[in-house]
C-alpha cells in the first residue's frame, strides 16, 4: 500500500499544479431564469406542502400495514385450505347415490 500511496501522491501533487480556473460569474440571464422558475408560480399552499412531506412516509406505513395484514391472515387462509373438501359436484353426488 505504501508503494501505491507514494505513486498516487506523486500523481496528485502533479495534478494540483494546474492553476485553478478563474471564478466564473453566472451567464447572462441565468439568475433571472432560475428566479422565475423557482418563484414564478403561485405559492404552494401550506396544506399541500404538509401533504407532500408526509405522503412518502404514509406510503411506507401503508406498505408495512399491508404486509402485516397479509401475514396475520395467512394462517387463516392456510387453515381453511386444509379443511376444504373441494367444490360441490352435483353430478358425482347423484352418481354416487344411485
Amino acid at each position: 500500500m505504501k508503494d501505491f500511496d507514494a505513486r498516487w501522491q506523486r500523481l496528485v501533487v502533479a495534478a494540483r499544479r494546474v492553476p485553478a480556473a478563474e471564478e466564473a460569474a453566472a451567464p447572462y440571464g441565468f439568475s433571472t431564469r432560475i428566479a422565475a422558475r423557482a418563484l414564478g408560480g403561485p405559492a404552494r399552499p401550506a396544506l399541500l406542502a404538509v401533504f407532500a412531506r408526509f405522503s412518502v412516509r404514509a406510503l411506507w406505513v401503508a406498505g408495512v400495514l399491508a404486509l402485516a395484514s397479509m401475514a396475520a391472515n395467512y394462517l387463516a387462509f392456510a387453515g381453511n385450505e386444509e379443511d376444504d373438501q373441494g367444490p360441490l359436484d352435483p353430478v358425482s353426488e347423484v352418481v354416487a347415490s344411485s
Binding site: V13, A14, R33
Partner: protein, 195 residues
C-alpha cells in the same frame, strides 16, 4: 466568496417572501461556489449549466428546510455535491479502463509514475490532472468524491463531512476503501503494461 459583504440572512428572508430580485442576487452570489463544485464533479455528457440549474432549483425548493444550523454556503454545497453524486450514479457503468484510452501524454505520465520514483515533470501537470480524473472515474461516485476532495482539493475530513453530510468516520472509511480500489486499478494497469 465575499460572504461578509453579502447579507445572506436578509436575502433569504426576502426570498421567502417570494422576492424575485432577491432570488437573482442569491443565485449570482452562490454561482461561483456551485459552478466550482459542478466542474470538479461533473459527470460525463452532462452540461455544467444544466447541472447548476438543477442544483439552484433544488435549493429554492428546499429552502424551508434550512434552519441555519450550518452556514448557508455549506448547506448549498451539500445539495450541489449530492446532486452531482446522483447524476454520476444515474450514468451507465464505466467501461473498463485501458491504456489505449489515454492520450500519449497521459500514458507517458502514468508510465513514469508506475515505473520510476521521480517526480512528474511540471509541464505534464495538465496530463496528470486528466489522468487523475480518468482514474477516479473508475470508482463509485462516493469513492471518487471523497478522494477528489481529500487528495486533489486538499479539504480536511471535517470539511468533507460538512460538505457531504457524512460523519467523519464514514469519510475516513470511504477514503480507505477508495484507495484500496485505486491500488487494485494501478496493479491491473501495471500488469497490462507488462503483458
Amino acid at each position: 466568496m465575499a460572504e461578509e459583504t453579502f447579507d445572506v440572512a436578509a436575502c433569504l428572508d426576502r426570498v421567502r417572501q417570494r422576492d424575485q430580485a432577491a432570488a437573482r442576487e442569491l443565485v449570482e452570489h452562490l454561482y461561483p461556489l456551485v459552478i466550482r463544485i459542478v466542474r470538479s464533479h461533473l459527470p460525463r455528457r452532462v452540461a455544467e449549466e444544466d447541472l447548476a440549474q438543477e442544483i439552484f432549483l433544488k435549493m429554492f425548493t428546499r429552502l424551508d428546510q434550512y434552519k441555519g444550523a450550518v452556514a448557508f454556503t455549506h448547506w448549498v454545497s451539500r445539495i450541489a455535491v449530492t446532486t452531482c453524486i446522483d447524476q454520476l450514479r444515474a450514468q451507465k457503468r464505466r467501461p473498463e479502463f485501458r491504456w489505449a484510452d489515454l492520450s500519449e501524454k497521459e500514458a507517458e505520465v502514468l508510465d513514469s509514475v508506475l515505473t520510476s520514483e521521480s517526480e512528474v515533470a511540471t509541464n505534464d501537470a495538465l496530463a496528470a490532472r486528466e489522468l487523475v480524473y480518468k482514474l477516479l472515474g473508475q470508482l463509485k461516485p462516493e469513492d471518487r468524491l471523497v478522494l477528489q476532495l481529500l487528495d486533489l482539493e486538499q479539504h480536511s475530513v471535517a470539511e468533507i463531512s460538512e460538505m457531504t453530510g457524512w460523519n467523519p468516520s464514514l469519510v475516513k472509511v470511504r477514503a480507505f476503501r477508495a484507495r484500496g480500489k485505486l491500488k487494485k486499478l494501478f496493479e491491473e494497469l501495471q500488469r497490462k503494461e507488462r503483458s
